[in-house]
């Protein structure tokens, strides 16, 4: 009984982790950027969705759309205000761009977090469930919202797969992650690829943020934690590998759920952290990473 409960609860949270991490890893693969304001962007989406659904009275579905849109805008802001100026700066040596992007997005994440806390709220916001009601799956009472969330996550991931593998722009994106120089030689504008990947990233992070708000609730203080978990999952799966991130998301999600149910809720993050350290020591490229 507990086993089934773990299986169901773990599936929902893992799908959310996966969705959050896929955009993160795609971005690293294509443009080499690790965005440490990731959690901040998810919080923006969650809080905007909550405001639109509640205070503005747009309802849950329109609120969700507003939240996703806000996540996309926040991602654009991150790119144009922080990342692109650093990448184009002449004063920053090329080999140090990476660390500057890391520090810059970290600071940007802090600004988002404090800005949200100041302008709106630093209490956890929980949006109303997308659908209400409870279903019984083999005797385990499961909120239908949880099923809906897992389904939406997989729908988004499926759409992403179609986009990357079946459209021209997506294939160019894939090529950019393999060999950016080759792509420019074929006459593709790399800056447009970057814009495309930031758009996809923003939408994915936005969806993840909004869904998280309706599942567990999100507060601005969570931003750092959300970034850290996405970062860990992505490194665990292998930087730049989308399928690796999905595998890692399920590994971490289930490990946390099992710990919380069987050992103690307070120890929830520890086994995943230990696993991460172990994998990074023994196999630095991650589970499915390429070197």
């Amino acid at each position: 009984m507990v086993g089934l409960q773990i299986l169901i609860d773990g599936f929902a949270i893992s799908s959310l982790y996966g969705l959050g991490a896929v955009g993160f890893t795609l971005m690293f693969g294509v443009s080499g950027v690790l965005n440490l304001s990731h959690g901040g962007i998810m919080v923006v989406a969650a809080v905007c969705g909550w405001l639109a659904a509640g205070d503005l009275g747009l309802g849950v579905y329109a609120g969700t759309l507003v939240g996703v849109l806000a996540g996309m805008l926040a991602a654009y802001a991150t790119y144009f205000v922080v990342v692109r100026p650093i990448q184009r700066s002449r004063a920053i040596p090329r080999e140090e761009t990476e660390i500057f992007v890391l520090t810059g997005t970290l600071l940007w994440g802090i600004m988002i977090q404090d800005g949200i806390a100041y302008l709106f709220t630093d209490n956890p916001v929980t949006t109303r469930p997308l659908i209400s009601g409870v279903t019984s799956i083999a005797g385990v009472r499961t909120p239908q919202n949880e099923i809906m969330i897992a389904a939406l996550c997989w729908a988004a991931i499926g759409l992403l797969w179609l986009l990357v593998n079946r459209t021209r722009a997506g294939k160019a994106l894939l090529a950019a992650s393999m060999n950016p120089r080759g792509l420019t030689l074929l006459g593709f504008e790399l800056s447009r690829m970057y814009l495309l990947v930031w758009t996809i990233y923003g939408v994915l992070a936005g969806i993840a943020g909004v869904l998280l708000a309706s599942f567990l609730g999100v507060s601005s203080a969570n931003a750092g934690q959300l970034t850290a978990s996405a970062f860990s999952i992505v490194v665990l799966g292998g930087l730049g590998s989308v399928s690796g991130s999905l595998v890692a998301a399920y590994l971490v999600g289930y490990l946390e759920t099992i710990t919380a149910y069987l050992i103690a809720p307070t120890l929830r993050p520890i086994p995943a952290l230990l696993l991460l350290v172990l994998v990074v020591y023994l196999r630095p490229q991650g589970l499915l990473g390429r070197r």
Partner: protein, 309 residues
């Protein structure tokens, strides 16, 4: 050699600044002295971080792992057995060095973001460990220590200033010595440095130990100044971020710039306190602006200008 050192402008400017700073208690209130005291310890954190990042090129997102080890070791020792304070502080530094070696192991194998993640995880694990062993460590609330360095603000200030000055001389001297150059070389291109015949592993290990030593010392000193250790003051990731901001603000690879950055950061945070929640926002925005427009930091910018003229 000694003659050249005596003639260098830097030495006299340094001595002048320290003397000036040592005289400050005659003008400033105890409140301001208290802020400066904390800022000086913070300056040591930032210098130790700069040695690892600026010179060895190691992206350490968890300076508070080393600081926290030193601080909590000192505090726990004092609470459990109560040896003299210097023993507690030295023990804190020793444990921090062990922690530094532990961090150095992955650093020898991993590069860039991977190592950064390990340091981040190290902080999270330490934080969790402290909460789990709340019986000894005081958990999330923190713990007080029965002994303090001094109850007089002026004496505390002088302790911190002397400590800062000694650390600055040692770390700056190291960074300008052959060791500093080799570290810089191995940070920029480890393979080439190795090909030139330098023992990169040995130097990186040394850099970690030195950085950990000073972080641990400063962490333990801070605990015995404040009379308390808590996760929020010495371990939380936001503290680590502040250390990084201070070092980058002041100018990477300058060591002394880190001190300027730390003092600026702490004073700015203090004077912006009326802004309430926006306080951190403004500090982060200023730091971001510095990174975008003057990536060399305050001191780095001044030095560059000096070179060009």
């Amino acid at each position: 050699m000694p003659a050249r050192i005596l003639r260098s402008r830097l030495l006299w400017i340094g001595i002048g600044l320290v003397v000036l700073a040592a005289l400050l208690p005659f003008w400033l209130s105890a409140y301001l002295l208290g802020i400066l005291t904390a800022a000086y310890y913070f300056g040591v954190f930032a210098m130790a971080w700069d040695l690892l990042f600026g010179f060895a090129g190691e992206v350490n997102f968890g300076p508070t792992f080393l600081i926290g080890l030193g601080a909590y070791t000192g505090a726990i020792l004092d609470n459990q057995w109560g040896p003299p304070i210097p023993v507690c502080i030295l023990a804190g530094a020793a444990v921090a060095v062990l922690g530094g070696l532990l961090l150095a192991l992955p650093a020898l194998r991993l590069r860039g973001p991977y190592f950064g993640l390990v340091t981040l995880v190290a902080v999270l694990l330490l934080q969790n460990a402290i909460v789990i062993f709340a019986g000894v460590t005081g958990g999330e609330i923190g713990m007080t220590v029965p002994d303090v360095l001094s109850i007089d603000a002026t004496v505390n200030y002088w302790y911190a200033l002397a400590f800062l000055a000694v650390c600055a001389v040692i770390l700056f001297g190291l960074s300008r010595s052959a060791i500093g150059l080799i570290l810089q070389a191995s940070g920029q291109d480890a393979v080439e440095a190795q090909a030139l015949g330098f023992n990169v592993t040995k130097h990186k290990l040394a850099a970690f130990c030195i950085s950990a030593l000073f972080s641990g010392l400063a962490g333990a000193m801070l605990v015995f100044y404040e009379g308390a250790a808590s996760v929020d003051t010495v371990i939380d990731i936001s503290i680590g971020v502040q250390v990084i901001i201070a070092a980058v603000l002041g100018g990477r690879r300058t060591i002394l710039g880190a001190v300027l950055g730390a003092i600026f950061l702490i004073l700015a945070t203090e004077f912006l306190r009326p802004l309430g929640q926006l306080n951190t926002f403004v500090v982060a925005a200023v730091a971001l602006a510095v990174i975008l427009f003057w990536p060399d930091g305050l001191l780095g910018y001044v030095l560059r200008r000096g070179e060009r003229e």
